[in-house]
């Protein structure tokens, strides 16, 4: 336990202390004490996404603490014969992958900033990338979880076997819950073999409609890409990256098939590290607004049209990386947020309306602090919000964990 440094402030709030428990039992005990003492708790892994969500609802006088999983960093078990791994929450993604690679396996996931992001944080934010088109998202890879609850309970759900329907699926409930229900101390994942070969090819398309048609055509044939990514920006036409993994002959056959399909597009050299494009989108020196969006794959083209239309006047430079399953990030440069805010808010509103009417969403993940207080970063929660609030009230009745940060002010 120690006092928090100024760099550890979360969206303008400097917590009073940082606690780094060494065991899951200590995490549970810390939560219990915090609850009794009326302290608010901000769970933290690698702190790469600590600013995601609404502003913390901590009154000026309220005391808060950061509960760091830094010391819970072990790969507890790699049962390579069973293709499962048990990992502590504070283990970084890269450490896990290096351990698994010793037996030719991987967690088939490509989150943001793998060298710093921890499994606990990746789970809490439900962060996944291009591989999901083939292997699903976190909810399809996690098979067991240990959660520490504010009342000091340490609860386990799921298990070490891939197939298991005994009891409620709490691993899924915890995934993407932004640390509002409990603190993840340990998780178990199903694994996949490392691919024998991996080949990437990229295309440039003339316009959004052509891009969308090609993306749908690739998904509507029987190829099995392990990545299908769209990159676009205010200064560049949409580009498509496609990756195949497996045996060399399998990859080659699919590349032939793709070239045949993509006659309307121009093949380009794949930029180096093209599969890190989503992470790189965040590397920007000036102030910016970054949103995650989700939409039906068939709406990608028209959404890009709308972005272009709304960002022309006043000119808002933007860049986007999307996965063909229908999720992506968009970055808007905002060198002078005060000047741009009047244009930015209605633009985001229009995008949100368009996506939400079709079942999609826009979540604002990064924006200048004064701007954030004027926004609901999550958008409309729908008619299930009362149910979500009721779940929160059962798990965390006194709102110890990340109060106010999640959907609908949960």
């Amino acid at each position: 336990m120690r006092a928090a440094n100024i760099e550890e402030a979360v969206e303008g709030i400097l917590p009073h202390m940082v606690i780094e428990p060494g065991t899951p039992q200590e995490v549970a005990a810390t939560l219990k004490i915090a609850k009794i003492a009326g302290l608010k708790v901000i769970p933290r892994g690698g702190a790469t996404k600590i600013n995601w969500g609404n502003l913390l609802e901590v009154a000026e006088t309220g005391a808060s603490l950061i509960l760091s999983t830094r010391r819970l960093h072990r790969v507890v078990e790699h049962a390579w014969g069973d293709m499962t791994a048990t990992v502590e929450a504070g283990c970084t993604f890269q450490t896990l992958q290096q351990t698994l690679a010793e037996h030719g396996q991987r967690l088939a996931l490509d989150p943001l900033w793998p060298d710093h992001a921890t499994l606990g944080g990746i789970l809490a934010t439900n962060d996944c990338g291009a591989l999901r088109i083939r292997f699903g998202s976190l909810r399809d890879l996690i098979i067991g979880i240990t959660l520490a609850l504010p009342d000091g309970t340490l609860a386990k759900s799921g298990g070490k076997v891939v197939k298991n329907v005994a009891g409620y699926d709490l691993p899924k409930l915890a995934t993407g819950s932004l640390g509002t229900l409990g603190v993840i101390t340990q998780a178990i994942f199903r694994l996949h073999p490392l691919p024998r070969e991996s080949l990437t090819l990229s295309f440039s398309t003339s316009d959004n409609a052509t891009m969308n048609a090609l993306v749908l055509a690739i998904q509507d044939c029987n190829m099995v890409p392990t990545g299908l990514q769209i990159r676009a920006g205010s200064a560049s036409p949409p580009e498509i990256d496609l990756r195949f993994e497996g045996t060399a002959t399998g990859c080659e056959a699919q590349i032939d098939q793709t070239l045949h399909l993509a006659s309307a597009a121009r093949r380009i050299a794949s930029p180096p590290d093209v599969w890190d494009a989503a992470s790189k989108l965040w590397n920007t020196p000036g102030p910016s607004v970054i949103c995650k969006f989700s939409l039906l794959p068939s709406d990608l083209g028209t959404f890009l049209d709308l972005i272009q239309e709304t960002s022309e006047s006043p000119h808002l430079p933007w860049q986007l990386v999307a996965q063909a399953v229908g999720a992506g990030y968009i970055r808007l440069e905002a060198p002078n947020i005060d000047v741009l805010a009047p244009a930015l808010v209605p633009a985001l509103d229009r995008w949100r309306k368009k996506l939400e009417t079709r079942g999609g969403s826009i979540v604002i993940l990064r924006c200048p602090l004064p701007f954030k207080s004027k926004l609901d970063v999550w958008g409309t929660a729908g008619d299930a919000l009362p149910l979500m609030k009721s779940i929160k009230a059962r798990f965390d009745p006194t709102r110890v964990l990340n109060p106010g940060r999640f959907v609908g002010g949960i």
Binding site: G81, T86, G159, K160, V165, Y168, A253, A384
Partner: protein, 481 residues
């Protein structure tokens, strides 16, 4: 049940209200026939509004209700409760919408699993979860049980393929969980609802993902002298970095039964392996040779690759008919659904053999070998006094063995009525109490399928206690259950 209430039900569903004892008997059990309870009434709604109106009455009058699909469940999940009604979704069986560009299909809960594939097959798609009962079981039932099937090794379970649901909650409100678009902000409510065995509400509309049919499918059949040899081949395939669409294993007793029943042409051997690979043609060609080589190395004395769709269908028919086929070699049987870490297979199989010999009861083994899901079939003769009890004891002991190896009491059949007393052997009290928090959020009055899944009814006002280690943890046997 009071006629006042029955009249109200009749006003909603008209002739879709069953109260005649002779007709009610149809609903007294599901696929697990040794548990039977006669419901007070059965209701057959035809719309979400009907379901909501029924649940509203149940809520007001505190009448417990059990939702039912096709009644093929194997754990007693659809077993009626005393003083309760059964709400059958069989008449809500319309496919509402097909969105091919986004590979989604919207169905009502009574739609039959195989009909989804049939509807999308002309467009080159299929619905991946394929429980052996797929020609009769309903999507609503699959959602309740999170059904799997042989191909879930590669394609995942029902939960992988459910994007969104319209649900009538036990308080009669209608809510929409998830979205047809991925990553809806908020808690993953479809994730918690799928597999909740009817204890959280009734799904009235389901958005499913469909999957493009692979370019090539090849099915290989390999005959071994023993299940140990076959098990070694499975390990070899996994170690080689392959992820087949399915790996199934049958022992000699199961093969005999399947042969007597559907004449699949299986070789008469001690351990039969069925491996299906799918994907791009050249890749499948290449890998099927590798699989064949691994099988030979592990002692396979006959290897066949099904040459046509028709041959493949026959091979699968034998496997999928295996449970029902037991009737050919035994008057009665109990089927179990334990899961073990795959590497524990040799140890568990020899232990089952020992237990079977000690009890003097035959056990046939059919399993999804790729993911360690065992279906031991304990054969017995119900006419011999005491044998049924011994068979049940044996099947429970097999589940205990699975848990002791770090596995689960159920991989796809659900806990239901049958295995709820086993939950306490797999989970510690705090684990079960935490699951109960979810139950109380959805159904504080315990009206939806009460008494199932959990070993005792926990009241929503009860407080959960602090962590206490599970006895197995204290013994150092299991770390995470």
């Amino acid at each position: 049940m009071q006629s006042r209430i029955l009249d109200q039900f009749r006003a909603i569903v008209g002739k879709g209200l069953i109260t005649e004892a002779s007709q009610l008997h149809t609903y007294e059990c599901d696929g697990l026939t040794n548990f039977r309870v006669l419901p007070q009434a059965v209701l057959l709604p035809t719309s979400t509004a009907d379901v909501q109106a029924i649940v509203r009455i149940c809520q007001r009058e505190k009448i417990p209700f059990v939702a039912r699909g096709s009644g093929t469940g194997l754990s007693g999940g659809a077993l009626p409760v005393d003083n309760g009604v059964v709400i059958s979704l069989a008449r809500m069986n319309r496919i509402l919408e097909l969105d091919l560009p986004n590979a989604r299909i919207v169905v009502e809960p009574g739609v039959i699993n195989a009909d989804v594939t049939q509807r999308v097959a002309p467009h080159g798609y299929f619905y991946a979860p394929d429980p052996s009962s797929q020609s009769v079981c309903s999507i609503g039932g699959n959602v309740a049980e999170n059904s799997g099937g042989a191909h879930c090794l590669k394609y995942g379970f029902t939960t992988t393929h459910v994007l969104a649901l319209e649900v009538v909650l036990p308080d009669a409100s209608i809510v929409h969980l998830g979205s047809r678009v991925v990553d809806r902000p908020g808690y993953d409510l479809p994730g918690i609802f799928v597999g909740s065995e009817g204890t959280l509400g009734i799904a009235t509309k389901i958005v499913l993902r469909i999957v493009k049919k692979p370019a090539v499918i090849q099915t290989l059949l390999a005959a071994f002298n023993t299940t140990e040899e076959a098990g070694a081949a499975v390990s070899g395939i996994i170690a080689a970095g392959m992820l087949p669409a399915a790996i199934e294993m049958m022992d000699n007793l199961a093969i005999q039964a399947a042969e007597a029943s559907v004449h699949a042409g299986y070789p008469n051997c001690g351990g039969l392996l069925l491996v299906e690979l799918d994907g791009p043609g050249p890749e499948v060609e290449h890998l099927i040779h590798e699989v064949s080589g691994i099988c030979t190395q592990c002692g396979a004395w006959e290897i066949r690759v099904a040459q046509s769709d028709a041959e493949r269908a026959i091979v699968w028919k034998g496997r999928k008919a295996a449970f029902a086929a037991m009737g050919r070699i035994s008057p009665n049987y109990i089927v179990q659904d334990g899961v073990i870490p795959r590497t524990a297979l040799p140890r568990v199989l020899s232990e089952i053999e020992r237990m079977s010999a000690a009890e003097g009861l035959r056990v046939a083994n059919v399993f999804h070998a790729g993911d360690g899901n065992l279906h031991p079939l304990v054969l017995y003769d119900g006419r011999i006094p005491g044998q049924e009890e011994r068979a049940m004891e044996l099947s429970i002991n097999i589940l205990r063995l699975c848990v002791a190896c770090g596995g689960s009491i159920t991989g796809e059949h659900g806990v239901g009525e049958e295995k709820k007393m086993m939950m306490g052997e797999m989970f510690a009290e705090p684990d079960l109490d935490t699951m109960q928090l979810v139950r109380c959020s959805f159904d504080p009055e315990h009206l939806a399928n009460p008494g199932k899944v959990f070993p005792r009814t926990r009241l929503c006002a009860e407080r959960t206690g602090p962590y206490t280690p599970h006895p197995l943890e204290v013994a150092g046997v299991a770390q995470f259950f």
